[in-house]
């Protein structure tokens, strides 16, 4: 049993961190000046040298065949710098395309994703789709409007749209007649958002058949877990910032970190970061194990991590005092990332409701107590060691 990352994962984390840290000063300046966009050359390099857009692609699709934990490791590094590079978009692209894409079309997409050529946005995965799809001739046309779509210089959109036989996955270039992209004024300047208006947009099916609800739920969970990893990076950076400040800022003749009130707040923030990371790493590791209830793990991980990350980022603002409130100082970027990440797809309350349902806590209207208790027990998270004896069904 080994909690620590493998030697390879450690190396991946270090390389990614090094790459993103080098990009940080220029990116930070640009963001604070109000510029949107990323350095395309740097992204191509990131893809070629670090493999940020191909780690999670299966070997049979030409990728490095990495695990969800490998992707999570890179996302944690990207959360630390709030990079403008589309690391998160690439991660989501890897997760969705690697699972859904088939045949030549799919392989082409994966290849272009891996080289950094294709940068995806994604709609309809978390929310009941505002999009509907209808067949037209041999193809499909998708219509609907979706707000607050993460758009880090996206070239393409992966859309989950409703059809008469259930949700289907589609893909298309954004630059086409049927799609209009309206840029929103994102509160978090490091993560541009857009409203996508699709008007009978021509899109290609990403997957030949409608998708079962369970399969979509698993994809959501995998995306949620890597985003939790990014959140951990955000919190870790905010903590580091606060600790550094507490060690240097002097008032009343001493460094403010000597005061218990500051020290204790930082200690609580540290604990939040540590347990958030432990939980996220566990989920990312467990996600590839078919015996684990990954949908539940996704809910649990986000519900646990998001509020703690927000708390840490708010704590950082508190420690920094007046300076933390300014535009110039980057701490507001971390706070804004946390507060938007907590709400952009599924909020904490929704995750908690899903957990409650899955563990069998439901309003008792007809004395179903003993049944509920059974369900609760059956759908509880098994201890890792028990799986060998009592594989739990994921149903």
């Amino acid at each position: 049993m080994r909690y620590a990352l493998s030697v390879e994962q450690d190396a991946l984390a270090r390389e990614t961190t090094k790459f993103l840290t080098a990009a940080l000063p220029a990116e930070r300046d640009a963001v604070l000046r109000g510029e949107v966009g990323f350095d395309g050359e740097r992204w191509s390099k990131a893809c070629a040298e670090v493999g940020l857009a191909s780690i999670g692609i299966a070997e049979r699709h030409g990728g490095a065949g990495g695990s969800l934990l490998d992707i999570a490791v890179t996302l944690e590094a990207s959360g630390r710098t709030l990079t403008s590079l589309p690391v998160c978009a690439a991660a989501v692209g890897m997760i969705l395309l690697d699972d859904l894409a088939e045949e030549q079309h799919g392989r082409d997409l994966l290849e272009r994703l891996g080289t950094g050529d294709l940068i995806p946005s994604w709609v309809g995965l978390h929310h009941a789709s505002a999009l509907s799809a209808e067949e037209d001739g041999g193809g499909w046309r998708i219509s609907g409007t979706v707000r607050h779509v993460v758009n880090c210089g996206a070239t393409s959109v992966i859309a989950f749209a409703g059809t008469t036989e259930g949700p289907r996955a589609f893909e298309a270039e954004l630059d086409q007649a049927g799609i209009t992209v309206h840029h929103e004024r994102a509160v978090d300047p490091t993560r541009p958002l857009s409203t996508l208006v699709l008007d009978r947009a021509v899109m290609r099916p990403l997957h030949p058949a409608p998708l079962a609800a369970a399969r979509l739920a698993v994809l959501r969970a995998r995306v949620d877990i890597v985003q939790a990893a990014e959140q951990v990076g955000v919190a870790a950076a905010a903590l580091d910032m606060a600790v550094e400040y507490a060690k240097t800022r002097t008032q009343f003749g001493r460094r403010i970190g000597a005061f218990q009130s500051i020290k204790h707040l930082l200690a609580d923030m540290y604990v939040d970061v540590e347990v958030a990371r432990d939980t996220t790493r566990y989920a990312a590791w467990a996600a590839d194990d078919p015996q684990q209830d990954i949908v539940q793990l996704g809910h649990i991980t986000r519900a646990f991590v998001d509020p703690r990350v927000s708390r840490v980022c708010a704590g950082n603002l508190q420690i920094l005092g007046g300076i933390g409130y300014t535009w110039e100082h980057p701490s507001h970027l971390y706070y804004k990332r946390a507060l938007t990440s907590e709400r952009l797809t599924t909020d904490t309350s929704s995750h908690l409701d899903a957990i409650a349902t899955r563990i069998g806590i439901a309003p008792s209207s007809d004395g179903r107590t003993s049944q509920q208790a059974e369900t609760f027990e059956d759908s509880g998270i098994p201890s890792v060691g028990r799986q060998a004896f009592e594989p739990k069904s994921l149903g």
């Binding site: 080994r2 990352l5 060690k247 540290y270 939980t279 590791w285 409701d353 806590i361 890792v384």
Partner: protein, 419 residues
């Protein structure tokens, strides 16, 4: 990273499960399902069963009557006991003995000390109290004033200890005492073993706010200790006491998380039976507790991995203490909220476990059990290193923040106060 158990651990778990099943009476539903009389009988029976199978002192080497188990095996045994609702430490003084005193002797004791004390401890002939805290030495542990003065082949020990759990059933105490009043703070302390059943030692029970008399204060007035019952170097007591922090790191966390999961399942039953689960906020709070129980499980696996890897102690134990003690307060208050007005009076089966969650089989509808846990959860952030001390430790030793200003050496009181 790989948090799965290796195949040999799974095999071992199967053996433990079979063994426990064979040891337990038919129709066993957990310790919580027994009445007082049944429980008392069971504890005596069970202690002997555990001892025979090496489960009572799993970390001790076999040659000293223990199980000689690896850290992972210890973790599995602890967890499996929780899952069947049978106690790892049936007698109130067992934890002090098996987890604290035994390993201390094994690491720092002489062979004579081991040969004398360990078998008698295992048999239950000797029952231990932990004599660290004093009225003036709580968080400031090394401000110990109890004096031990050499007199020929003995020490005469004078002073006062307080907060000794299971003190009324202890007949021996391992204590931190000051053998060198000239040396300040942590220097000049020795770790000594002394019998409580003697004229110079008086044990007085203290009633806690849950109405139980479990812990005690101990008045020592020229109590006699053998000179060769000092453990480790004379004057090296602080090192011995701190050494405990390095033992069996990470072996109990998985079991503790499992115990919290069982407790939460019981709380969900209470919510369902009372109809309080119709309240959305209650459901969400239960779900939120579920996420914390899961997180504690993840943290426990991390601590177990760290212990197994043999790396020097890291921040895991501080993190665990901070998280777990606060969780207990949160979940027990949720229980009170679910009870509503029923939280205002004792009713139903009394609590079984003094610290931490009630065992499997406890009646979900017993308000007494929930109220007791809520009351017991308050000192959970006080003993064993208070929440404030843990935060200082994390802030200073982990984050490297400036240390607390220390009092000037001359302002520190020296020596003993007696009574």
């Amino acid at each position: 990273m790989d948090l799965s158990y290796p195949p040999e651990a799974d095999d071992y778990r199967a053996v433990v499960r079979e063994t426990l099943a064979a040891m337990l009476p038919t129709g066993w539903k957990g310790l919580g399902a027994l009445d007082d009389a049944e429980r008392a009988t069971f504890r005596t029976f069970w202690r002997e069963q555990l001892r025979m199978h090496g489960y009572l002192a799993p970390s001790w080497p076999k040659e000293y009557g223990g199980g000689g188990l690896t850290l992972m095996e210890q973790s599995i045994v602890a967890e499996e006991l929780v899952l069947v609702g049978a106690p790892q430490h049936p007698h109130p003084n067992d934890a002090n003995a098996m987890v604290l005193l035994g390993p201390t002797l094994l690491h720092f004791g002489t062979e004579e000390q081991k040969q004398f004390f360990l078998p008698r401890t295992l048999s239950g002939e000797i029952t231990w109290a932990q004599g660290y805290s004093e009225p003036d030495a709580g968080s400031d542990l090394f401000n110990v004033r109890t004096r031990a003065v050499r007199q020929g082949g003995h020490f005469l020990v004078t002073g006062q200890k307080i907060w000794q759990s299971a003190g009324l059933t202890a007949n021996w105490m391992f204590a931190l005492v000051r053998t060198d009043p000239g040396a300040p703070g942590s220097k000049g302390l020795s770790f000594i073993l002394l019998p409580l059943e003697q004229e110079g030692a008086e044990v007085r029970g203290i009633k806690n706010m849950a109405g139980e008399t479990d812990f005690v204060e101990v008045f020592l007035n020229d109590a006699v200790a053998q000179r060769d019952h000092i453990v480790g170097e004379p004057g090296g007591g602080a090192r011995v006491a701190l050494g405990l922090l390095g033992f069996e790191r990470g072996s109990g966390g998985v079991a503790a998380a499992a115990a919290s999961r069982i407790e939460l399942q019981r709380l969900a039953v209470l919510a369902a039976e009372t109809g309080r689960d119709r309240d959305l906020q209650i459901r969400r709070r239960l779900a939120e507790c579920w996420t914390q129980v899961h997180a504690m499980h993840c943290l426990a696996l991390r601590a177990l991995s760290a212990g197994i890897s043999g790396t020097p102690p890291g921040p895991e134990s501080s993190i665990t203490k901070v998280v777990v003690s606060q969780y207990r307060q949160q979940v027990s208050e949720l229980a009170l909220d679910i009870l509503g007005p029923d939280a205002a009076s004792w009713s139903g089966q009394p609590s079984v476990a003094g610290l931490g969650p009630q065992p499997l089989g406890t009646d979900p509808l017993s308000s007494s059990a929930w109220i007791a846990d809520a009351l017991h959860a308050r000192p959970g952030t006080v003993y064993g290193g208070s929440l404030q001390i843990q935060r200082n430790t994390i802030g200073e030793q982990v984050l490297g923040l400036p240390r607390e200003p220390r009092p000037a050496a001359s302002s520190r009181p020296q020596g003993s106060v007696g009574r």
